[in-house]
Amino acid sequence: MIVCVAVVGHQNNPLYIQSFTDADDALKLHHIVHCSLDVIEERVNNPKKSGTTLNEAFLGLLYPTLNYKVYGYLTNTKVKFILVTTDLDVRDTDVRTFFRKFHAAYVDAVSNPFHVPGKRITSRNFAQTVSNIVGSYGLN
């Protein structure tokens, strides 16, 4: 189950962060998302050391922590998407599909002429789309 998704701007400022749990661990998820930025930074800055080749936006598993797994995605404009899931067995293709849909939703949201780039995303439509994508995750 996806418990949290986040959009982080290129100055590492949060643009959109939404958790999907009933429990009150939103703050914990905020911390997890924030810490995962360190992993992204390391992976982007030292691609050699980590042995990964960054020729795609999907960054893969960022780190496992406690009961969560954190996945990352980096767009060309250095906007980061972060996904936190509690699933133990995660299929790479599912995550990729999720990020692809999420990216499309993000592009739609920021293409709104009333949206100022770099500002928080407050669009309700975007939130609705995201929760739909989250709901459909792993179904197919």
Binding site: P14, L15, D24, L27, H31, G118, R120
Partner: protein, 1192 residues
Amino acid sequence: MEEYPEELRTPPVSLVALFGYSELHTSITKHLHSQQPPVNALAFPDLSHISLLLAHDDQINRTSSVRDPLSVSDSSSPIPSRCGGILKRDWLLKHRTKVPAIVAAFFPSHHIFGDPTQWLQVCSDLDNLKSAIRPKNIKLVVIVVQSSPQEEISEDRLVALRKRAELDSKYVLFFNSSIESELTLSLSRIASAFAELALAYYREEGKRIKSRVEKRSSNSLDLNVRYCFKVAVYAEFRRDWGEALKFYEDAYHSLHEMIGTSTRLPAIQRLVEIKTIAEQLHFKISTLLLHGGKFIEAVTWFRQHKASYEKVVGSTEFIFLHWEWMSRQFLVFAELLETSSATVQSFSSLNQGTAEISLTEFEFYPAYYYQLAAHYLKDKKSALELLLSMSETAREIDSSSESITPSVYIGQFAQLLEKGEAFTLHSITDEEYTRYTISEAKRFQDSFEIIAWLKRSYESFTNLKAQRMAALCAFEVAREYYGLADPNNAKLFFDIAANLYRQEGWVTLLWEVLGYLRECSRNLGALKDFVELSLEMVALPVTSHEDSGNLENKSYGPGGPATILGRESIHREVFTLVCRKAELISSTEESGFKIAHDSPLNLEIDLVSPLRPVLLASVAFHEQMIKPHALCSITLSLLSHLPLPVEIDYLEVQFNQSTCNFVIRNSQRPLWASASNTVQSGSQVENEPSLVLVPNNWLRLTYAIKSEQSGKLECLSVLAKFGPLFTICSRAESPAAMEDLPVWKHENRVESLSTKDPVLAVFGQKATQVEEPEPQVDVSLGTSGPALVGENFTMPVTVTSKGHAVYSGELKINLVDVGGGGLFSPREAEPFSLESHHVEICGIDDGAEGTDESESETGNIKKIQQSFGLVSVPDLKEGESWSCKLEIKWHRPKPVMLFVSLGYLPHCSEANAQKVHIHKSLQIEGKMPLLVSNRFMLPYRRDHLLLNRIKPAPDSEDMSSLPLNEKSLLVVSAKNCTEIALKLVSMCVEFDDEQGEASCLIQQVGGCGDTPGSANLAPGEEFKKVFTVIPTMKTPKLGLGSVHLKWRRQGGNTTEACVSTKHKLPEVNVEASPLVMSLNCPPYAILGEPFTYAVNICNQTQLLQEAKFALADAQSFVLSGSHSNTVSVLPKSEHVLSYKLVPLTCGQQQLPKITLTSVRYSAEFQPSVVASSVFVFPSAPQADKANCATKQ
């Protein structure tokens, strides 16, 4: 890691027991330790101790009193595989310290080869030994100690010894310590024999146990685990890491199968035993993997380990046991990784071939595991706290309740009961066990360990530049300190986290941290910090309306959830606290602060302060330049991000010119008695009907101010006062240079301009320039044409007052080179550039007019440098004037710019009044007054063969040549190249040194009517003077000295000193001419009358000179004589060619041209055209002075 026993943490080392000859033991033990791999040795003085060593183990095993009661009952049961536990606690230690692989018996050689009684003793000793070690398969080595190498050896006895000991010959060794070389040899022999036998022993033991595993003789999993563990340990003894790893893993997997199947012990203890053993096996496996450099395998293994036991929680009531166990797994792995990862830095092979389980970077950092270890320990702590709070009984448990100790088996506990003399161990129930664990757990302060691990993790992450992870660790550390009621330390770490969250604008996280910090400062009683933190929280862009309505929820910090309601309530709290009225002070004690009623609270907000959103002050002047004393508009815009409107009592605007400071008063508020202490009385006070800051709306105020003082006028800060004791001082910012608020810039909000005028909002500045008052004094520079090089040029400067009096005036004079004057070529300038000053100020004559006694008393400043001068101007009243003369001297012709600036005070009274400045400038051309040139002339009608002239040396192209000892003429001319008339006073040639005087003779030709060089020169006019030059020394470069000219401006003051100018004459080449050709002919001829034309060829050398001559016909003359021939001229003699000529035409006629060629020098020369012409008169002239006419 330290909590594991030593034998588990280090790789096992083979053990050897030495018997007899104790004096040798030290050296042998030392040698064995230094071997690779090392061997441990037990030393006993004689063989009788063997029974002690080996019996020890059996005795313990047979003491039923200590034996586990379960296993006692099992031993009677028909199934032999049932046992009391999985692994015995002391098994490993026993094999490392008590059960040797080899027994080495030392016998002195004379016991063997000497007396038969002694030999018999040896035999019986050996028999005893053998019988003791045989059941354990321990290997035997016999060492015969020789006292000297020459000692006699009986072969028979040796064979008998081998037979008796049942040993191969290579295990009966000789030891000789008498000689150094023998000793080392013996030691190495012993070491190799030991190594070999130890290997054999451990291999056999391993094989023996392995066969049991392979046969699967028992279906019992515990035995399987035990056997696998033993095989692995024996493999480790042999340093066969691969096999050790394999069997440890087998043991681990078998153990995992036991979960849920084993029924031996009560449920909780059963799981505890399995987990304890799993932990030890995991530790062994991880150590082996990491020491083998297999990081990826180790990390993958850890992940699997964690995954397979994560869910094995056991009883949920006592879940704290599980969390403690998990925490230990992470901690131990972190420590292992830390000790071994120092050498391995790169994980280049990461993620290769491990497509299924991809590892991430942070899983290779110990910090990651420390952090999680701390996290699980925290879970344990909270679980334990919950347990203690839930159950009454748990709380009552105290540590001294039961004497429960670890039992014989790893992971089991038993109760130690005293029965008379003997102690017995009794198995315990789960209830007893949990009581014991709770009492144990209560003894520990987990917080300190959590803090220690998190700090380690924090440092490690900081070193790795993973600042966000580090911040999270710092936050956790701080929270732990907070929980321990240590606000000082907590504050330290909260600040670290808060700084990062501020930077990156993670508002919810920042809110949380600030909430904690606020409580810390409340606990510390730091009112200012409390107010600052509260205001920062209040001004955060928290826009969420969600309110769970459950403020008691534990997942939030003391700041509560980040909602607008939360902001508003903190806002109200802090403003009631700071804006309280004096009589309400006593009632504010519930906030935790007691403040004296006269201690004001001032907050400073600068450009980097996190409090900027609380009060943002933007100040813009409407004009960039203002006149002094004139009114200028200034707009003051205030913005606040506080959630509720706040009312300001009064505002104070502060400038760098404190006289401009002004106050804006809220007329609805009473005037506080102590209102203004920084503003001078009598300064401007404005009244506003209301001063309310509405959230996210600019409060714009425009006023007019005026400045008395010229220079920069800058607004420094805006001070807002709320209530009697609380002020916020915000640094003023220019609208043009205003930066976004770091936490607000990513928010979606309506952004309005700080001023109504959009131009001002974009370009407005908080500073303006106040102009100087208009000067009412005139400075004039009187010019009198161009300056001449060499003279002292005077420049009158006049200061005239036209409305202002002049006090403490100062005149500054500056000479500046006009760049690229172009009057002279750079090549010319270069040699002089060292002198640098081509034009300099020689003096300032300020006493020319109105020299008063009083002026000299005022202490006039007068400073002159080469291009700079400073002179003070006496005080002048209105209408008065003063002048001075500058004397400037040019050394080179060039234009310069003269800058004159006058600074003065219009009033003498004001001490700090500003000076008024007037600037004037003038370009002055410096010109060369006289152009001097010179020309050499050789004696008339005498032509010298000057070889240098025919074949000029390459470097002397322009150099003229003069014949030695001949009188030549030098004509010097001076031309006035200015536009004014000059008077030339004198002209003469002077040598520069004495050498010139000795080598040359120069005389002035006393022409008729010539005054000694004095002449008036109109512009463009030229003056010439003739000198004779007789060189007396042959030299290629003869210096002729220089021409000295003395001149002055005509018509000027005759007393004025003459200016002396020097012109250096060129150097000449002096040489002796071998041949001189002189023409002899009458000064004039008469038409039709014949005359003689003689050419004298004079040989001035000591050699015979052959000369060819050729005479060309001339149209105007009839000629008789040879046209061409070769003549020989004897040394120092003369040859005369004589011709008779009859002129045919009148006038200036060219004589027949003669060309002389010297054969010796192959040089040809001719007389000049002027020299070889003659004037022909039609008839004989009447005048006597005819000879004068032919001169020119």
